[in-house]
Symmetry: D5
Subunit: 91 residues, 10 copies
């Protein structure tokens, strides 16, 4: 099933620039893996914010949580998940 997932990432100032760069690079790599696995389907940037809206697909909320918590920046992400049902016009 699909989920609309919104999150905003706030890396703390206690991380050095190098640590932040490493985290961002690891984040991109893991996101790419999740795209290849068909779990992460689309990402949009919320204009003006360090926030993204994404379309995710997972068998259930437990699998979705595993995917989200596998992201290296997860400890600093504020995440909101909305379940989506198929619309009759899409069948």
């Amino acid at each position: 099933m699909e989920f609309l997932v919104r999150f905003e990432t706030d890396l703390p100032d206690s991380l050095s620039s190098a640590e932040k760069a490493e985290l961002k690079s690891a984040e991109r790599s893991r996101a790419a893996e999740l795209r290849e696995a068909g779990i992460l389907k689309r990402l949009w940037r919320v204009p003006g914010r360090r926030a993204v809206v994404g379309l995710w697909e997972a068998s259930d909320a437990t699998a979705l949580h595993e995917a989200l918590s596998s992201l290296p920046q997860f400890p600093w992400m504020d995440v909101d998940v909305e379940p989506l049902a198929v619309h009759p016009q899409e069948r």
Copy 2:
């Protein structure tokens, strides 16, 4: 997967007492069928309100929507759905 579903029902005054009684009876029958099918697992009353909190199980949000919209009072229900993931301590 499980969902926490909260809804409050507000039957309009344009319905007669007989129509309301019939709707409530049909609601109970359909709810009993959903319990037998393992879709509706628990219901609680929110004290002081015409609202209920329920624990539902469905394969995905589409199946949940079909179950909810099969309730005779659905046109007058204000529904809020929250997806639930399995907690590690429950495994």
Copy 3:
């Protein structure tokens, strides 16, 4: 550009069943036209509600408003529009 559009439709009781059916049919036809024009790209049902989330594409907010207000049920729709920017990972 893309927009995330959320709306909930509340047809008034003053409309007859025939009028409501006619409106819903006209709505589906107009939505199909907007899909063919590439303006309406995806629709999801919010489980438990008479609400939808949709992904729309239009040259700007003015063109989006024209598309939305061309829907026959527009007078009874409560609409919320969120602008989306391209995410760097999507380029």
Copy 4:
């Protein structure tokens, strides 16, 4: 009576990794005791968040507070308690 309890835990960065691990282990042990005592009945993970929803049973709000505040991570938990009444269909 039953309560729906929602909480999110935010351990401060001032705690070392060892202290956090010890707290989490102690938390699991105390939760297991509360389950055996029939006070903690179910736990769900809110997908994407360090938050849980739980079904608790206690004789009253005072006993529930004692159970919740006996959790080792209680000083860092943001807790919301909702009282639940028995639904007529459950009798």
Copy 5:
């Protein structure tokens, strides 16, 4: 256990003045019974509003719901219930 209960009553215009007067009189009588039974312990008026705050005592949320829903004006009351625990200084 004690509960803090807040409600606002909004009798519809479709009721005649006589019906409203009768309802208010029946409400006072039932409230007096609940006071004598020790369930309704205190009532305050929210200044400027048709709203009250009350201190209620009941064995649990189910008994509280039965008391509240026995009030003749219950169908037109918007009720919010907050559970209260004993404060250590009160023991």
Copy 6:
């Protein structure tokens, strides 16, 4: 007149355990004095939170503020005050 006062106390981590214990002890002493003076009439614990709801009596909001700000933990209290009027049924 009576006031419903809700507050939550958040002592900062910069205070030592000894300072916190001393503050809590001083808080209890001052609260006891306010009870004897008839200003603090009842206190309840909000279950699951470091928050209390209290019933206070003071000649006006100025006298109430003086009582509240005389509490040793006042600098770390987030306070919300609601004025209460006498309910006709209480006269």
Copy 7:
């Protein structure tokens, strides 16, 4: 003591123009009486709205409620009351 009182009046369409005019005239007369009695001290219009902010003085919340509910339009007013304490700089 002083109170900051905010209210918005919404006369129903079921009242005729004559009834509305009569109510508004009676409202002005009663407000003038409350000004002379020193209870209503200042009124401001919220720009763009049928809402007012007012400064009132009454011995307590009960006396304030009696003054507010003596206004002829009270049944159709949505009122919010905020208690005010004397500021040290005003002494």
Copy 8:
């Protein structure tokens, strides 16, 4: 001074189509007058809604209220006014 004014108009179903058309025409005429007078400076449509955002200039909030309440649809407008100060970069 300038004000950012947001309003949404909701003409009631009790008005006939002819009455609504007349109101809309009168609204446009009065708006044109306010533009010529330099009071109404810009208007934008909120996409998807019967709402507008406008930039207005008036000597103070009283003059602004007079301009807004001179609009024929004012009785059915829900208006929110935000005062604007000159930004240093605009001087």
Copy 9:
């Protein structure tokens, strides 16, 4: 024109007691000057909070901002400004 201004001041712990005392003294001096200039007309304490409500008069929002930002504690004040129009009964 008049404005209703609400602010809450939160001096950081990084300031020493001496710095705080100096700031508070400077704040009182500047407030006295603004009173003499007829800009600050009334101040009230919000009971239980480090917050004040004030009635201010300035030619426009720009002049009001200059007055507010001239207060020594301005960098630590969270300010909310509401424009007020003259009420017909005050003319």
Copy 10:
């Protein structure tokens, strides 16, 4: 298309006065460039706050995000973007 952009800037205390002054100067320079490019069209100060409201023009949300994130203070800005459609009266 035009956007209404609201942001509030909160430079952290960890920056020195010199760093803050440099940032503010760089901010003004970049804002001037965006004005010359026709992207930033108007700015207003929200009275009493370190917040601004601005009217921006960009081809889409992606271009707007690039402009906003090119501001030197962007890492410390909390930004809210609202898309604007052309109002029929402006055509």
